[in-house]
Structure formats: C-alpha cells, structure tokens
C-alpha cells in the first residue's frame, strides 16, 4: 500500500470527525488566519483612501518600527510589562490551585443536587460583565457609602480612600479574578474527574487510602496532562491582560496606575486621543509574538522532563 492510499483510507475513515471539526476550522481560518494579513498595519502609517480598506492599506506609506515606539518610549514600559507578567503568573498559580480544589470538593459531595447548586453559584460570577463587577466593588469600597468604610467606622477607625491606595490593589484584583474565573475552570477539571474510572478509588480504598491520599495519588495524576495543557494555554496569554478586570474594576482611577496599569489598558488609554490603528496593531503584534515565544519555551522545557505531556 502506498502512502497516498493510506492517507485516503484514513480520510475516509475519519470523515465524520473531520466534518465535526469543519465549522471550527472555517471559523479559525476566517477570523484568526485571514485577519493576520492586517499585521502589515503595524508597519504602516495608515491613511484612508478612496476604494475601501485594502486600497487604503496599499496606499499607506511604510513607517518601519515607528508604530512600536510608544510602547517603549515612555518610562511606563517597565511598569506595565512587570504588572502584566506578575499578575498573570499569580493568576495562573492561584487560579489553577483553587479551581482544582473546588473541582475535587464538588466531586466528593454525596448530595448531587447540592453539588449542582454549589457549582452554579460558583459559576455565576463568570457571566457578570466587568462593568457590573466594578460597580459591585464600589458598593464595598466607596469612600462615603461603601460597606468596608462603614465597618471601619463602627470600630472607630478612619475611612480609607481605597481608590487612592495602589498598595492594596494587587490583592483586590487577584481576589476578584479568582472569584470570577475559578468556578469556570473548576467545571473543566470536574468534567475530567468525572471521567476517572471509579475502580481506581475503590482499589485505593481497599488499600486503606483516605480521601486526601485518594486525591493525591489517584485524582491529581489523572489530571496532570489537562493541567499542563491549561497552564500552557494561559502562558501563551501571559503578555495580554484581561482589559475589563484592569480597566473597569479599579474604575480607571489614575492614582492606582502604578499597580493596575497593564499593557492592554496602557494601549487603550494612551491612544485615546490619536486613535491610531497602526499603533494598536503594533501593540497586539508585540503581545502575540512574545506570547508565542513563551509557549514554545515552556513546551520545550516540559518536553525535556516529560516527553509525553508536551502539547506538540
């Protein structure tokens, strides 16, 4: 049998699966690959021309790396890069641990009905928009009407202008991020736990393993690969931040920028006046390229220690 024939046989055998992939594939090509042509914008001084987008793009003059300058020219370059990476590292570590803990706890609940209720409650914040979350938080942290300052007042303490205290915001933002996203990630892990054969647990129980030992020696090893995939995906986005979390939740308060300004919010704010599409494209390209490099690096490291678990 020639190689070609093998390929054809494989295709025929997998037609059903390929058809299932097709919509996603078309979506990927249309919305993720075709727009990549727009990367050219990052190197052009965009100018409108009669005849639509492609004509404008064609006629715009090249400008080298000029569109990237604003990202590095300011003294903020270091702060926003540091903030973006540190927040994402904290989010990856705490988010993974908490999501795993929730998933394990939910899977051990004997009352399925209650488990579903808890799951829904934990899942719910994921569907709130950041604007709503921002104002919910204001309800707690408002200087004169907030619940927190109200409580401080009861103990006879001075009220605090929370939106003027950059030091506390790394904790607040990390907490809010966990509260909003942990439930969602937990569902993914929970689904994987449900797929583990119960016989492992029965065998472990017969060997005298308690709940804790079952978790450590049965559940986690089964989730190991999934965790690596999830972490790898998150690492690829380490240079991009959740815009809503860092813009809406601190209410875009200027005094907090030292600890809340990340690449995405900086780009949005600094281009508010000029609205230059070439510069926004440049920023996006920069984030993607660094994310790509990081994914490759981390994958390589994983490959070195555990060939089987690497993504590619």
């Amino acid at each position: 049998m020639s190689v070609r024939a093998t390929g054809g046989w494989r295709l025929r055998k997998n037609t059903a699966f390929l058809l299932m992939v097709l919509p996603g594939f078309i979506w990927l090509v249309l919305l993720k690959y075709l727009p990549m042509g727009g990367i050219v914008l990052a190197f052009k001084n965009f100018h409108f021309a009669r005849g639509g987008f492609w004509q404008s793009l064609w006629e715009s003059s090249w400008c080298g790396l000029q569109n990237f300058e604003f990202l590095f020219a300011s003294q903020n370059a270091w702060i926003i890069t540091r903030n973006t990476i540190l927040y994402n590292l904290v989010f990856i570590v705490t988010g993974t641990i908490l999501a795993l803990a929730i998933a394990v706890a939910l899977s051990e609940l004997l009352n399925r009905r209650l488990a579903k209720l808890y799951q829904t409650c934990l899942f719910f914040p994921y569907f709130l928009s950041w604007v709503v979350v921002g104002y919910l938080l204001l309800g707690f942290l408002s200087f004169d009407k907030g619940a927190v300052n109200g409580m401080l007042g009861q103990f006879g303490w001075q009220p605090v202008q929370w939106y003027d205290q950059p030091g506390v915001w790394p904790y607040i933002l990390s907490f809010i991020n966990l509260w909003k996203n942990a439930g969602y990630n937990a569902v993914i892990y929970l689904a994987a736990i449900m797929g583990i054969d119960r016989q492992y647990y029965e065998a472990a129980e017969i060997d005298g393993a308690g709940k804790w030992q079952q978790t450590i020696y049965v559940t986690l090893p089964h989730l190991y690969k999934l965790i690596i995939v999830m972490v790898l995906l998150a690492v690829g986005r380490i240079f991009s931040a959740d815009f809503g979390l860092f813009y809406q939740v601190p209410l875009n308060s200027g005094a907090l920028y030292p600890t809340t300004d990340v690449i995405d919010t900086y780009v949005f704010r600094s281009l508010m006046y000029t609205g230059d599409i070439g510069m926004t494209t440049a920023a996006g390209l920069y984030q993607s390229v660094v994310g790509f490099i990081l994914i490759m690096l981390v994958n390589k490291v994983i490959k070195k220690y555990d060939r089987e678990s690497a993504m590619f």
């Binding site: 075709l34 492609w54 020219a73 903020n76 004169d144 200027g254 600094s270 000029t274 609205g275």
Partner: protein
C-alpha cells in the same frame, strides 16, 4: 473522493469570504434622478428612534423629486458612536454622510487621515445656501490647511463656561444670583464658597459642588491646541501672543486646582468624584448646589425643563470662539461616497429648507407634532416615538420653536454669536503624526494625574509638580516644540 469534495468546498468558501471582505463591485448606472434616486447612507448619533423609518419614507418622497436622492439613516447610540464609526471608517464601508465633532468620531484626526471628502469645491458649486446661512467663522474655523472637510451646524458659535445653580436651594439658604461674581475666572468659582459652606452645614446629605473627573471643561483665558482633551498645549486668547505653553504650569490655571482641593477638603465635592466620571443620578435627585456647563442663550430654560427643577446660571468668562466650539457638531461626506455632489445638495437643503430640517428633527406633522403658529409647534403623543437630538442635524436657526422657547430665541442666538470673541488661533489644526509616541505617553500621564487634580482628590502642591515632571519625561518638550513650529508656520501662511 469525498476528501476532494471537502477541499473544494473549503476553497469555494474561502474565495467567497475573500470577495466579501474585498467588497463587491457595483455596476455604474445613471443615478440621481427621481426615477432612480441615489441612496445616501447617513450615520448619525443618538438613541435609535422607533419612527425613524416612517419619517425617512416621508422625507424621501420630497427628496426624490427635489434632488433625486433617498436617505438611509442609521442611528448609533451616544456611547457606541465613536467606536462603531471607527470600524465603519477603517473597513472602508461605502457610506456617504456622517456626524463628526471634536468629541466623537473626531473631526481633526479623521480628516487629517483622509477619511472625509474635501468640500471646498462642492461647497462653491452646490452649497451656496450653506455659505449664506452660516456664520463665516464656522467655516473658517473648521478648515484644515485651507480645506473644509465637514459642514458645522449653525448654532451657538462660542464656548462659555457658566456655573449652574440649583435655584430653590439657593433661595432657601438666603442667597441670590447677585451674591456671586460673574466673569472673574477663578474668582467666580471662589465666590460660590459661602453658599457651599451653608449647604454643608444645613444639608449634610447634599453635594454642594457636583463635578466629576472630566478634564475638558475648565477654560481660563486661553485656547487649547489639542481640543477637548485636557492635554497640554495652550495659547493666550489675547492678540499677537503666539507662545505655546503648558497650561499645567500656568499660574491662573493652577489656581483652579488649589480651589478644587480646598473645596474637596471642606467636603464640597463628592469624595469619589475622580472615579465616577459622570453621575446623572445626583443631578436628577436635586440634592446638589452647583456645577458647571457650556452656555447658549436661554440655556437656563432648557436645563430647568430637562432636570425638572429651576436652574439659574452665571458666566465665568466671556464667550470665546475656539476651534473646539466650532467643531461641536458637524457633518462630513465620506471619501468613499460615490456621489458627493448629491450629498452636498442634500446638505444644502438640510441647512436652508425648513421643511427638510424640521421633518428630520420633529417628525411628521399630525403624527409627531402640530403647528400652532407659523414658526411654533406643540408635541403630539407620537413625539415619544421620535425624539431626535436637534443639535446634530444641521442649521438650528430654521427649526421651529417648541413649548418653553421664547419668541426671540434665534435672534438672541445671533446676537450672542456676534458678541463672541474669536480665539486668535481659530482655524489652526495640529497634525500629530510627527509626535505620535510622545502624544501617547503624555496622554497616559494626563489620565493618571488629571482626574485627581480636576476634582481636588489630589493635593496640587504635590501632584502638580509631579505631573509636570512626568510630562517632561514623557516628551512634553518635543510635543510643545512641534505645536509651536506648526503654529508659527500657520501664522506665517495666514499673513501672506
């Protein structure tokens, strides 16, 4: 076999998508006649109205006969307009006409990037009526390097900051308008302090001075190069002095921040004002003492009606015609419009023909309003389905008077416009492309320090030196030097 079919299907899909993105071509037909009218696609700002299509159809009957055109009006809500128009412009959509201003779908930035059709020739050929109707300063002020890219709406031409007072509260506390000092700059604001103090003492739940962290209103005796942004770069109003300076280092300008701080510390300003950019709930509740706003003749009546409480006001400065004020509401023709000549004919009608102008603003007679005099209308219940923002739809001076409007409204507008002094840099538009990186960094610094300063949350003694130091690091000197260079060139060219 099936795999090949699959591949073919994919290929067709991709090519199809490519064509869609590239934008299909349309065959050329003779357009612009009553039988084959040209369809004018018009994007405008405001909450979409239920009866828009109904009014549009009525107008189209008239426009088909008159200029061989039809309207296809697309309204986009206030908050989304800027972003949606950005997408429309960049995608190169074939629209014809759009609302533009200094504060949304920004005129200067878009015109300089070539998004709008140059109008000088079209205006001469099809827009004679516009030239006669508008105060010439509107057109001169909006021209960029001698070329006009949008038609400003004929309305109040100047900008004048006034302090608005909650009348009932003022009289209850024993004050009258004569207790405050008009036309005195920062001293006008200071004259409100005793009133604020009384509110604080007798109505603790009230906000005496209801301002928020916006950076664009406060004016001083100067005009700003980057209009409506709060960004550094200012020139004095007085004639002959073209020195560009950073207003945040200006003594008089700084005086406002000291006042804001004093007011903040005494509890006259809401403690969260810097974070809450715009809170209408305080204004609507009536639990406030004063704020500031841009004035136009009889504005007190409009405000009183809109807020359902009596409002009086006194000015901080005389009215000044700045490029910001002439760019308050404009209409531009797209660079991609296939028939800019017909669109200009429509703009001419919109600015001169009372039937077209009033139908677009007030709807259909007998459904949305009824006439009670030659120039005055009353609203019918149908009005609720058609409430358009009049200022964004062209010449206001030919619109009907509505209940509450005095008979001499438009005469007073003309008088007020005539009394307004022109800024000496009216008509100068800054091209930011040589300093984009600096401008981005400066914008970011202003966003960090501005809201705190403009609400008194930050101590100007600390924050102002810090701000100016950070601005310098961000490239302020290069930004100001470029502004000065372009301004000098503009002054030189104008003298010739």
């Amino acid at each position: 076999m099936r795999a090949a079919g699959l591949a073919r299907m994919l290929a067709v899909l991709l090519v199809g998508a490519g064509l869609l993105l590239a934008g299909g071509c349309q065959p050329a037909v003779e357009e612009g006649t009553p039988d084959n009218p040209y369809r004018i696609v018009w994007y405008t700002i405001g909450t979409p109205q239920k009866d828009l299509k109904l009014v549009e159809a009525r107008l189209n009957e008239y426009l088909r006969e008159k200029i061989g055109a039809e309207l296809d009006i697309r309204m986009i809500d206030w908050a989304n307009y800027r972003e949606k128009m950005n997408v429309v412009l960049i995608s190169g959509e074939n629209y014809d006409l759009c609302f533009t201003a200094s504060w949304s779908n920004p005129y200067e930035q878009n015109a300089m990037r070539g998004a709008f059709y140059p109008l000088n020739d079209l205006l001469d050929r099809y827009g004679q009526g516009i030239k006669e109707a508008l105060d010439p300063r509107f057109i001169e002020g909006a021209k960029i390097n001698g070329q006009l890219y949008a038609i400003p709406a004929n309305k109040e031409i100047g900008q004048q900051v006034v302090y608005r007072i909650n009348y009932d509260l003022m009289t209850k506390l024993g004050f009258s308008l004569s207790d405050f000092r008009p036309l005195a700059g920062p001293d006008s604001l200071r004259s409100l302090a005793p009133y604020f103090q009384k509110i604080r003492e007798q109505y603790p739940g009230y906000t005496p001075y209801a301002i928020f962290g916006n950076m664009n209103y406060l004016m001083g005796d100067m005009d700003f190069i980057l209009a409506n942004s709060g960004l550094p770069g200012a020139v004095r109003i007085e004639q002959g002095n073209y020195k560009v300076f950073n207003q945040y280092e200006d003594r008089e300008f700084q005086e406002y921040f000291r006042l804001y701080r004093e007011f903040y510390e005494k509890g006259y300003i809401a403690p969260d004002a810097a974070q809450i950019r715009d809170d209408q709930s305080i204004i609507v509740s009536g639990r406030w003492g004063a704020d500031y706003a841009g004035y136009q003749p009889y504005a007190d009546n409009i405000w009183s009606a809109a807020m359902n409480m009596k409002i009086v006001s006194f000015p901080e400065f005389r009215p000044i015609v700045t490029k910001n004020s002439v760019m308050g509401s404009m209409m531009a023709i797209s660079i991609n419009s296939r028939r800019p000549d017909i669109v200009m004919k429509f703009l001419n009608l919109l600015n001169t023909d009372p039937y077209v102008r009033n139908t677009i603003q007030y709807g259909i007679e007998g459904i949305h309003y009824q006439k009670i005099a030659a120039n005055r209308i009353e609203f019918l219940p149908g009005h609720a389905n058609y409430e358009m923002p009049g200022f964004s739809l062209g010449n206001l001076f030919i619109t009907y008077l509505v209940p509450g409007d005095p008979d001499d409204k438009w005469e007073r507008f003309r008088e007020w416009n005539d009394s307004a002094v022109s800024s000496q840099i009216l008509g100068f538009h800054f091209d930011h492309t040589p300093v984009t990186a600096e401008l981005a960094a400066v914008t970011s610094v202003m966003n960090q320090y501005g809201p705190g300063l403009f609400t008194g949350q930050s101590d100007p003694g600390v924050a102002l030196p810090k701000l100016n130091q950070e601005l310098k690091k961000a490239g302020l000197d290069r930004l100001l030097a470029e502004q000065q260079r372009q301004l000098d060139e503009w002054v030189k060219n104008r003298r010739q």
